[in-house]
């Protein structure tokens, strides 16, 4: 068997498993983090004898509870679409991770192996395409539950996600123009240079407005506070997943957390250098510590940055109040979208000017 096939199979198994394993960790971070922010203890009771592990056993208790709950289906819910909807939320979220590079290419037995499941020249477009499917899952969940609160939640979510998907896509156009590539690994590699030898040339410095708009749109896209209107409990009970319980409910939660990881990874790749260890290029790092340690360093840099953005999601959720629906729509269509278009326009003008200067001087 070819080494590339074997590596491909290993990657296709490990990366989703890693993403799935990050869910309990993030749930723990969310609970302990919220308790920390709100000055309380948070869940810390689940134990095996004297071992509590700072509440790290709670996710296990949750998982066991969800798995052993009765798989209940409301009588009037749709027999096919009701169980299908949670799957349509989780699967796209996991598929999106396929193009995220965890480190630079490695050379193994004469083959160059990318550190993502599939390296596509249009990787960014792929991410947007696949993640747009998860809207279907939420909409379908709202409709198939046959409950008016669920339906309202589903409709709200569709409207919100369509509105913000547009801004999400447009806000990165500027960055893509600067990099001139849609390949995530290429984009990460291009951010390895430095300005004046001290500041890493990360996308956030070249596209500060683009980054800000992207971050806001990402929060809305992940259905997280301050934009978690689809499940606004004060008006919609629990929104689109009101009628779901047990493992089906936890699949929605899994989808939400994996989407959080994916969007954080995308933010890091586009604006924070991806797997770049600051100030050290792949070649320099490899020459100093050798290939295995180089890959480890880059992976840890990537994971650390991604974890920071996951924490930012949690941080914002427990700090800001929820928007009102009309405010959400106004922000999306009248502020973020025009600003994204202006950002694209200005970036294109600057790049054109730079091109002319290089061409004439």
């Amino acid at each position: 068997m070819n080494i590339e096939y074997i590596a491909g199979i290993i990657k296709a198994v490990t990366i989703p498993v890693m993403a799935l394993n990050s869910i309990p960790l993030l749930v723990w971070m969310e609970r302990r983090g919220s308790a920390f922010i709100q000055n309380r203890h948070g869940p810390n009771r689940a134990n095996i004898g004297p071992i509590t592990l700072f509440g790290l056993l709670h996710p296990f208790a949750d998982a066991i509870k969800c798995v052993f709950k009765e798989p209940f289906r409301p009588t009037k819910a749709h027999p096919i679409f009701y169980p299908l909807a949670p799957a349509l939320v989780v699967v796209p979220a996991l598929l999106t991770l396929a193009v995220v590079p965890l480190a630079d290419h490695i050379f193994l037995m004469g083959a160059e192996i990318p550190m993502s499941v599939a390296e596509l020249e249009y990787g960014i477009v792929y991410m947007f395409a696949v993640s747009s499917i998860s809207v279907l899952g939420i909409t379908l969940a709202g409709w198939a539950s046959n409950n008016k609160f669920s339906l309202m939640g589903g409709l709200r979510s569709t409207a919100q996600m369509i509105s913000y998907e547009l801004s999400l896509g447009l806000s990165i156009f500027g960055a893509l123009l600067v990099y001139g590539s849609l390949n995530p690994n290429e984009i990460a590699r291009l951010q390895g240079e430095t300005f004046f030898g001290v500041i890493p040339a990360w996308g956030v410095l070249m596209q500060p407005l683009g980054f800000l708009l992207f971050l806001i749109a990402a929060f809305a896209e992940a259905n997280r506070n301050p934009f978690d209107l689809p499940e606004g409990e004060s008006e919609l009970v629990a929104g689109y997943h009101t009628e779901y319980g047990g493992m089906k409910f936890s699949m929605f939660m899994m989808g939400e957390y994996v989407a959080m990881v994916t969007l954080s990874a995308l933010t890091v790749t586009l604006f924070f250098g991806g797997w770049q260890v600051p100030w050290v290029t792949t070649e320099a790092l490899q020459a100093t510590v050798g290939q295995p340690l180089r890959v480890l360093c880059q992976f840890l840099a990537f994971a650390g940055k991604t974890l920071f953005f996951c924490w930012l999601f949690i941080w914002v959720r427990w700090t800001l109040p929820r928007f009102r629906y009309d405010q959400l729509m106004r922000l999306g269509w009248k502020v973020i979208l025009p600003l994204s278009i202006v950002n694209v326009f200005v970036t294109a003008l600057v790049l054109l000017g730079l091109g002319w200067m290089k061409g004439t001087l």
Partner: protein, 178 residues
Amino acid sequence: MLTTAIFYVLSFVCILAALMTVTLSNPVSCALSLILCLACLAGLYAQLAAGYVAVLQILIYAGAIMVLFLFVVMLLNLSDEEAAEGRYDVIRGLKGLICFAFLVDLYVLVEVSLGGRIYGCPAPGLGSLEAIGELLFTRYMVSFEVISLLLTAAVVGVVLITRKGPASALAAGRGGSS
């Protein structure tokens, strides 16, 4: 071998989903069947080494257009009975006849004009990012721009039609509730 198997599975599911789209009675089921059909079509594009076209197919049709379709279907909330009303009237028969005529037309086109010949694979790199970008900005530039203009006009038209209140109020910049 594996490629052929995948091709047949995709084609079979695609045709089945297309049939379900036109035969199922529940509008939401129809919309979802159409999404399945489009997804299979994307898979077929990917098999033709046109991965970018496949991704765009998912992004635009399955991700954007069909979500709007579903949104509208759910808002209208058509029930099965309403949709099934007047199942056997003349108009419906005419529609079926027209569709059948199109099918025959398609068959004749393929069989007669191509003479049953099977054309080979498209040139390598036809569906790549660069190739599509170049075609859009050179050969199809004008049509591309005209289509975007048309879509903008349609959007403005829809806003005008759905706005309540007399035209004079619109002209004065004080349209009805929006």
